[in-house]
Symmetry: C2
């Protein structure tokens, strides 16, 4: 693969998970720090030539083609690698975790963290539903990890990278990981394998 340009924001789990995959697979890339809370992904130029949805991560390949959506980028970069199970059913379970992450985990845990860390919102002013949804999401992960090392049985996969990115940052969103020992053990396992 030719070197590509990765637009991302350090501290965004969605961006960090793409960077973790690229580093794990030793892919050549240039990281462009993109301060999204200063509007860097909303400029006319960014919208026109990088990502019309105005989000990072986004990739520009050597031939100028672009790709957005963190989990779609991970799937593309990791194609044919050990991070994607060869077995069709296990691959389907990995896909299920990836969609669950974006629909259920991220909108609670990452959003509550962003309100506190980047928007300066007082915790007392945050919709209590976010805490409830986030704890329910962590509970579902905990039950899955009690009797297996990885989210998809048998191997570390993109599911683990996608979910670890914001799970390890959950305390910054006010979520205690103390009630979730299996998640804590799993995070330690992930970090043994990943360089960031």
């Amino acid at each position: 693969m030719e070197a590509f340009t990765l637009y991302g924001f350090t501290g965004s789990g969605n961006c960090e998970k793409v960077r973790m995959v690229a580093d794990f697979l030793s892919l050549p890339y240039q990281w462009i720090e993109t301060p999204i809370f200063d509007g860097a992904a909303q400029t006319e130029d960014f919208l026109q030539s990088i990502n019309p949805a105005g989000q990072v991560p986004a990739i520009v390949f050597a031939d100028q083609r672009t790709l957005a959506q963190s989990n779609a980028i991970m799937l593309y970069l990791a194609e044919g690698s050990a991070l994607i199970p060869e077995d069709a059913y296990r691959r389907a379970q990995m896909h299920a975790w990836l969609f669950w992450e974006q629909y259920t985990h991220e909108p609670a845990i990452a959003v509550r963290r962003a309100l506190i860390q980047y928007r300066g919102v007082d915790e007392a002013d945050i919709d209590p539903a976010l805490m409830q949804k986030g704890m329910a999401a962590l509970g579902l992960m905990e039950r899955s990890l009690v009797d297996q090392d990885w989210l998809v049985k048998g191997q570390m996969s993109l599911a683990d990278i996608a979910l670890m990115a914001y799970t390890r940052l959950a305390p910054q969103g006010g979520f205690s990981l103390a009630p979730f020992p299996a998640i804590q053990d799993w995070l330690a396992r992930c970090e043994q394998h990943l360089t960031r």
Copy 2:
């Protein structure tokens, strides 16, 4: 593929898109109508043996293995078919649309529709941000469809099925499709190819 059991709720776009794929590919299955607004996906039995996340669609295969998450199910059922582009970059674009659908489109358009259609909420009491986000999502689709027939250039793919499911129901959520002629043409194209 052996016949499988598909738990779904008629009227849910997430369930209908899985059914559309199964019908398009002439796969053998039994549909179990699951009245989610009466708690049918929250019973002890459903959570234990079908989907611990308490959601439909969910599949139980002949060997009792299970699979959840509409887009993960579609990817599994359609593997190797014409609904998934062979080219890696086009496949990545399809994945990007699938994640965008679950993160951006569904939480605005399907959620606003559900509040009106199933929860009986008065439109005046709905967070105005939902209308704004839904219209922005439709705008992004419109711009993508102005100069190409399908969301991923060159062929109808799972991206079209995933997005058409709730886009055609958007008017039930109070979203007018009148400002989006390219979407209207695309919906008509989709419906020519799909039986539901």
